[in-house]
Symmetry: C2
Subunit: 123 residues, 2 copies
C-alpha cells in the first residue's frame, strides 16, 4: 500500500537520517510543527504499511526505512512515465529538457551525464 502525502513527507526525514527517534523527526518539521501524537500516528501507520521498522532502544524506538529511497522513487517515476508518456522515456526526456527550466549550464551537465552513462555501458 502506498504512502500518503504526509507520510511521504515524514519518510523523507527518515531517509535523510537513516535512523531516527520520534523527537528527532519532530525537530525536522518546519514551524508550525505538528503535534507529536500526529507524528506518532503516522509512524504507526507507516510501520503497518511496511515502509519502516524500528529498533527498541531503552524507553523509545529508533525508526529506520525498510525501503530504499531510490527504489521507491524510481517506481514512482516509472509510473508517471507510463501514465503521461505512453511508456516512452524519451518522450518524457524531451519534455523534461524543454519544460523544467533547466539553465544552459544544467543542460550541459546533462550532456555530460548522458555521455558518461553511454561510456559506462560500453564496458
Amino acid at each position: 500500500m502506498k504512502l500518503s502525502k504526509s507520510e511521504e513527507q515524514l519518510m523523507q526525514y527518515i531517509w535523510k537520517r537513516k535512523k531516527a527517534f520520534m523527537n528527532e523527526l519532530l525537530e525536522m518539521y518546519p514551524e508550525p510543527k505538528p503535534a507529536n501524537t500526529t507524528v506518532a500516528t503516522l509512524l504507526k501507520r507507516m510501520k503497518d504499511k511496511g515502509y519502516i521498522d524500528y529498533e527498541q532502544m531503552g524507553r523509545s524506538r529508533q525508526y529506520y526505512p525498510t525501503v530504499n529511497k531510490s527504489d521507491y522513487f524510481s517506481r514512482h517515476l516509472k509510473g508517471l512515465i507510463r501514465k503521461y508518456f505512453d511508456d516512452s522515456p524519451s518522450t518524457f526526456a524531451s519534455f523534461f529538457t524543454r519544460e523544467t527550466d533547466l539553465t544552459e549550464d544544467q543542460l550541459k551537465e546533462l550532456q555530460d551525464i548522458v555521455e558518461q552513462e553511454l561510456e559506462r555501458r560500453k564496458k
Copy 2:
C-alpha cells in the same frame, strides 16, 4: 485542489479527446468499465475543482479540459524534483538516466534532444 487518482485517469481521456461526452469517455475505459454514475460523479467533482468545464449540447454536455496537460504535468514534475532532489534538476537527470531503463538508443536520442535544446537557446 489536486485531482485524485481516478480523476486523473479520467482526465487523461479528456485530454486525449480534447472534447468528449460522457458516453464517449465511458467507452474509453478498459473492461470492466465503471458504472456511468461513477463517471458522472467524477466529472462533477472535477468541474468543481476547476479542471474541466463543459458546453451544453442539446440534451447532454461536452466536457473539455481547462488546464493544459503539459502545464499540469510540469507542475507535478517540478514538485517531485523539489521533493526528492532538493530542487536540483541535474541530480534528477542523473538519476533518470541511470534508473529508468533507458536503452542505448534512447540515451542517444536524449543526447540529440539536449543538443537541439542547446541550439535552440543560442538563437
